[in-house]
Symmetry: C2
């Protein structure tokens, strides 16, 4: 057995780290075997919380990311936009930068990032594209926070906001969009900037919000760049196997033996777990801080690592959800494949996921998911209410355990955990999705759906042009909303081109808007 | 003084009728002088309730309107679509007719009337256009009822539903639209008719709902005929004087002396009311059943008559809100102008409004508004929450008392009456309105805004073509959604043409839809 890599490092650097994984199974009840239901993987929820879990410090050179400047403000929002019940207001946090804005007289644009499931500062930091392009457009920058995340807590604090199904009941995408609509409208009124065009940006769930906002509030925003926005990952619009098939393909394209090792590992895990002292042995093999009580916990931990690796499979070193090298899946497979002959499957797996969980090498041992956290995470609530994204794992194409999404079990678990009944058909009723091309072709305009095909969420997004103004930008080598990140000197050519296209399209929207404003004034 | 007309009729026919007027001031506190605030006139709310007030029976020939056939069904709706709170469901009534529907295999269209503020049967009866054209389209007909009206009462019954601001809080346009969206989606699923195109219809507030539904749910309906839909009657989008100026013009175009008599009458009324025994004299002059306690009540009653007369100023006899002759304003003015010399202004006024309140001549005396009704009317709640339509009356152009809309007083009155704070900018935030041409030009498609310029609500609607598919059909001689009424042999040529144009446009939407469906199948 190969020595674990970390043992080569100086002990003085060691930390006991608690990496709270965003397991797809985080809420599922797990008796002793594999779970009866599979939760949709979170986007990046946990990692983007405003108080991030302790993480290993990234190496110095990775920390050097461009500085962004903004002012933090708060806006009193209604808790419930869609009824006239007497509910308390809450303070929505937003970040604002006006230093490059050319102002209301010159109809300076407003670049508006649709905050998603986490503290807004984290998204601001990780959405360099907006900061980089705003100056050339003379644009104001706004980063409003999504309700129930970060500091934007109803009922005064997170404990109260997340207390029960009743207090959580206003954590919905529609309410968040209405927050955005009211915030923009009021802000523009206060600045006498009613005539200024608003351009929406968003990545991941934020990208879904940006696309939906353009669809539902076309009077408020002239266009949307929706990056990695899986607005079709609902009901039966795309096959439920899509997500895990893409993750699996990301591994297979690097190495089929790596793919096979992972595919075999699940059985190996179960077999090992059933042995006498098996759980203790697994605890040792995977350097867990606490003794493993179920192989499911470990399976979830691994599942989660692979899914995230696919999302952040960027061509350069980055510290998005974790400090990682460039092409991290390649590195993971290199580890898995590169172990000396005779290394067991599970030992190879450990070597591989250490790239994800311990790239900096500072971890002494690993904590699996913190069970006490159940019920306090916003995205899990959203997944249990409207964001019902069925996920299955196919027998052949997937390297994961075979699994068929089961709505009934899913609903039971939501009831058990939150006392809430999911509404799996609501999102498509409210926002559409079925036959979206026909709808958007004769309606809608000015939306960019950008996707990288390495990103497992790309399968649930819009990958073909719908019309002249509803555009799909697809990159073969892109991962989760890489286009929204700060530019880097390591950026591959296709990424530079993609961003240039996006800028050109946004310029087109604005030019048309200004032409029409002008002809209106001329009238 | 001319003998009141009714006294010529046989006493045996007399009825004491209670005509609950839909006064613009119905909720305002009225001390002894003219009101401090002016409420938006209702559309046709009161008259369209499912249990209509006793009204004089119309003459036999007017009662003969075409029969319509439908089945009445109920659908369990969520009370709150936009939160996950545990609120009780309610039964939404809807009328359905499938006898001409060509069915799901042939993608038979679904004609969907957006029920507005009243019992749905009344709207079904008064929307003959849908019934007449559905057969030629092979269309199913659906008339869903608006929540909180007719039988579609949350909390089991009207008393409970209208109990307080909390129970009423879900009476909003957005919730009603979501009801429609869920109903259509579920119904289509049950009939395996997911592929069938839906065309929306609506008049007045129902027309606003139809237009908004097309804007907000383009994936659910392929187009909307929004007749007399004042979607721009909010904030400062159109001048607040618009409504009363149009009513006044309707009278002036018939007779400037009639206009002048009415304009003078308000002062005459106040002067008379201040005299000793003045109120008693007014009670007599206007044949009121109970002694008048304030001239305001009478002013409201008159105001209301003029406003409704303008809305239903149809070219033929009709029994929409009241049994009335064709060109009723012409008839009113003929009465006002035709009194013998020496007839007082107020006596002329009484003769005039008798055309509205007593065309059948069966009324013995008149009840002014029933004050006990305050607080139980759905439209007043809606006006006090989101449907804040500022209404003023200009000094010169209007024949009404001069009045400037005052938002603060309006809000105070809403607070007093309903314990609710109006949100005057919400409708435009949610649905747009400012600069609607620019928005709809680059977004949106397949909406007909039809308006008759005699209709005082026309001033708040869309009167110019926005694009090739967002069309304004404007008729000089039309009144409130006359195009949606049953055709009649008396229909003027312009009305026949207008309906033919509407049919042609709807055919165009459907043809395009079928072409696209076909090319999809061919792919």
């Amino acid at each position: 057995m190969a020595k674990p890599k970390y043992s080569h490092l100086s002990l003085s650097l060691f930390l006991i780290i608690t990496i709270i994984t965003s397991s797809p199974l985080s809420l599922a009840s797990r008796p002793s075997n594999f779970p009866s239901s599979r939760w949709a993987p979170r986007f990046l929820g946990k990692f983007s919380s405003s108080s991030p879990p302790k993480q290993p410090q990234p190496p110095k050179q990775q920390q050097q990311q461009p500085k962004i400047r903004y002012e933090t403000r708060y806006f009193a929002q209604r808790l419930d936009h869609f009824s006239f019940s007497d509910s308390p207001r809450f303070q929505q946090r937003y970040l604002i930068n006006t230093e490059h804005w050319v102002g209301p007289q010159r109809l300076g644009p407003i670049f508006f990032y649709c905050g998603n499931e986490g503290g807004i500062e984290w998204f601001a930091k990780n959405t360099g594209f907006v900061w980089e392009v705003a100056p050339q457009f003379g644009a104001m920058i706004l980063f409003p926070e999504h309700r129930y995340y970060g500091e934007s807590m109803p009922y005064g604090n997170k404990d109260e906001a997340y207390k029960n199904a009743s207090t959580l009941s206003f954590l919905t995408a529609e309410q968040a969009l209405a927050d955005f609509a009211v915030l923009i409208t009021e802000l523009k009124r206060n600045l006498s900037a009613e005539g200024c065009p608003v351009v929406l940006f968003g990545g991941s769930y934020g990208g879904m919000l940006a696309a939906w906002m353009r669809l539902k509030y076309p009077h408020i925003a002239i266009g949307a760049l929706a990056s990695s926005a899986p607005i079709l990952q609902f009901e039966d619009i795309v096959p439920p196997e899509t997500f895990y098939d893409i993750v699996s393909n990301d591994f297979r394209r690097e190495s089929s033996s790596c793919f096979n090792t992972i595919k075999e590992s699940w059985d190996a895990l179960v077999t090992e777990g059933k042995k006498q002292n098996g759980l203790r042995q697994l605890t040792k093999t995977f350097h867990l801080c606490r003794e493993l009580s179920s192989t499911d916990d470990l399976a979830n931990w691994l599942d989660s690592a692979y899914s995230y690796l696919a999302m952040v499979n960027y061509p350069y070193a980055a510290d998005f959800v974790m400090p990682l090298p460039g092409h991290p899946i390649r590195e993971v497979c290199r580890k898995i494949d590169g172990c000396p002959d005779g290394t067991s499957t599970l030992e190879r797996i450990f070597e591989g996921v250490s790239i994800f969980y311990n790239y900096t090498g500072q971890a002494k041992c690993f904590e699996l998911e913190d069970e006490s956290d159940v019920g306090t995470d916003g995205w899990n609530w959203q997944a249990c209410t409207e964001m019902v994204m069925p996920m299955s794992s196919s027998r052949n194409a997937s390297m994961f355990q075979t699994y068929d999404f089961n709505l009934s079990s899913f609903q039971e678990e939501c009831w058990k955990d939150y006392n809430v009944k999911p509404r799996p058909t609501w999102i498509t009723t409210e926002f559409g999705g079925h036959d979206i091309k026909a709808t958007l072709k004769s309606f809608g305009s000015n939306i960019i759906f950008s996707n990288g095909l390495l990103d497992p969420w790309s399968g649930g997004s819009v990958l073909q042009n719908v019309s002249e103004t509803v555009i799909a930008l697809v990159t073969e080598e892109g991962a989760h909303h890489i286009d929204l990140r700060f530019s880097k000197k390591e950026d591959p050519e296709w990424l530079v081109e993609q961003r240039a296209t996006e800028i050109k399209l946004i310029e087109g929207w604005l030019e048309k808007f200004y032409q029409e404003s002008k002809s209106k004034f001329d009238m």
